[in-house]
């Protein structure tokens, strides 16, 4: 019997596909998310829009909060560690969370290196803005990738940019000849073996979700049609007027992403979505998606 093989680590992400992973900050919110059909929850102290508004250093959530959320639901529980902060990752593994998100939403701890994710039994998900970044994270051992978007904005534009960057480069790789893979690996800053694998398979070797800016059922349908295999929703649920209905509606839209009539139906009477932020209004040094190397 073998635990924590790469197959087992990637396998949980495969089971989450077609689903919605929701940010929660209390056990009560976790239960609301589970009742609305979330396939997993992300246990946090503050949602990204609050981190953005309040500023300061954003760290791993308190262990007792993560444990309370793990006790509150039967679905998988993820938690975030700072980029490069293997001390936090070790704590999260000791707590027994189901997935660690090495996340740009928290303040980076290392401005050069990410965590060596091969060293852990618990699987990791990492953000990426393009294919090179995705393959670097997979090279480090990530078992799941999410396009970054710009967390806490309720603005889908960056999510679309990153998802399209990843999928269009994958398509491009498919038309290159083997003699072009090495120079493409150099251009992308990605491991050659992974470039070769993606060129051959026409997809990432791990599951690809979309994150950062999903606030409505139509947002979820949009990114699913662009090639996301599932959706992370952060502030979009519990910063909306009616979190329970909004959560259930985004779950249904993620399943029926090619059925506009169903999306129209589930989008009715949800109340106000979370307030959004125009990207131009955010100073460049405050952009979270730029964190990651």
């Amino acid at each position: 019997m073998q635990e924590a093989t790469y197959t087992v680590k990637k396998g949980l992400a495969q089971m989450l596909k077609g689903g919605v992973i929701m940010d929660v900050v209390t056990p009560e919110q976790a239960r609301i998310a589970e009742d609305a059909g979330a396939c997993a929850v992300m246990a946090l102290e503050r949602v990204p829009s609050e981190i953005r508004a309040q500023g300061g250093v954003a760290r791993m959530s308190p262990p007792e909060l993560i444990e309370q959320i793990m006790d509150a639901v039967t679905i998988p529980v993820m938690a975030k560690a700072r980029i490069g902060h293997f001390g936090e990752a070790q704590v999260l593994e000791a707590l027994g969370v189901d997935y660690i998100d090495e996340s740009e939403v928290l303040t980076p701890a290392d401005e050069v290196n990410h965590i060596d994710k091969h060293a852990y039994k618990v699987p990791f998900v990492c953000g990426a803005t393009d294919l090179g970044e995705a393959l670097r994270r997979i090279g480090e051992g990530a078992a799941m990738i999410r396009s970054k978007g710009e967390a806490g904005t309720g603005n889908i534009v960056e999510a679309v940019r990153h998802l399209r960057a990843i999928t269009s480069t994958i398509k491009r790789l498919g038309i290159l000849g083997p003699e072009e893979w090495m120079s493409e690996a150099k251009r992308l800053g990605a491991p050659y073996e992974l470039v070769r694998e993606v060129a051959g398979e026409g997809k990432l070797p791990v599951v690809l979700f979309c994150a950062g800016g999903v606030a409505t059922p139509a947002d979820a349908a949009l990114v699913m049609q662009l090639g996301a295999e599932g959706v992370f929703v952060g502030s979009g649920i519990f910063k909306s007027e009616d979190p329970s209905r909004t959560a259930a509606a985004i779950v249904k839209a993620t399943t029926h992403f090619r059925e506009p009539k169903i999306i129209a139906e589930v989008s009715k009477h949800l109340g106000k979505a979370m307030p959004g932020i125009e990207l131009g209004a955010i100073p460049e040094r405050e952009l979270m998606a730029a964190r990651g190397w």
């Binding site: 635990e3 495969q14 059909g37 039967t74 998988p76 249904k252």
Partner: protein
């Protein structure tokens, strides 16, 4: 091993979870696969797979999109079903008092997350007599376990400690592990052979009736 599955149309419940992997396994074996998200897509199927995923999510979507009753009727009329992991939970009559929408049609007592959380997920080789001599690589992801079975249920696979991890009851087949992740299609072949057998039985009945 020369069964022709090309005339079979097998539905794969595609509400949430690892359904594409089942579609690919069915297509490798020559069967037609149809993703099922709405009741209309249940029409004229020869069999149905309920994939792994989160059983709470899938159960709620089954309820919301009015699939529970039509599926129970199809199971009652003898449609062959194969459930993996979450599919096992959804088919079981007893999941230890947890309240979540279920099909509840198979005489199993199932414990969710029976081995623990993701850190306790594992893969292992199983000897499964119905699949031949070669061991089957079984992948368990936050898996359920079958704690007891009713009289009509035939256990098919066990862990070393005796835990039942696959079973069959009439035309219902379940596994707590994920054959769709292992690349070994013998479990899917077993299911498709059972679908063919069910069709032959049905046509024999029609012949007798006429």
């Amino acid at each position: 091993m020369t069964d022709d599955f090309s005339r079979l149309t097998i539905g794969v419940l595609a509400l949430q979870g690892a359904f594409i992997e089942h579609v690919q396994a069915l297509e490798r074996l020559g069967a037609q696969a149809r993703q099922v998200r709405l009741p209309g897509e249940l029409q004229s199927l020869d069999g149905l797979i309920i994939p792994g995923g989160e059983s709470t999510t899938i159960g709620q979507l089954l309820e919301e999109f009015q699939l529970l009753e039509p599926l129970r009727r199809l199971i009652g009329s003898g449609l062959p079903i194969y459930g993996t992991c979450a599919g096992t939970i959804l088919l079981a009559r007893d999941i230890g008092g947890l309240s979540q929408p279920l099909l509840a049609t198979m005489d199993l007592q199932v414990e969710r997350n029976a081995f623990g959380r993701q850190l306790q997920s594992f893969e292992t080789d199983l000897r499964i007599d119905s699949l031949g001599k070669a061991p089957f690589r079984a992948i368990f992801i936050r898996a359920p376990a079958i704690r007891s079975v009713g009289p009509g249920v035939e256990p098919l696979a066990w862990l070393e400690d005796g835990t039942i991890v696959a079973a069959r009851q009439a035309r219902l087949l379940v596994s707590c592990f994920h054959p769709e992740l292992s690349g070994d299609d013998r479990f899917h072949r077993l299911f498709l052979a059972a679908v063919l057998e069910a069709q032959q039985e049905a046509s024999a009945q029609v012949d007798r009736a006429s």
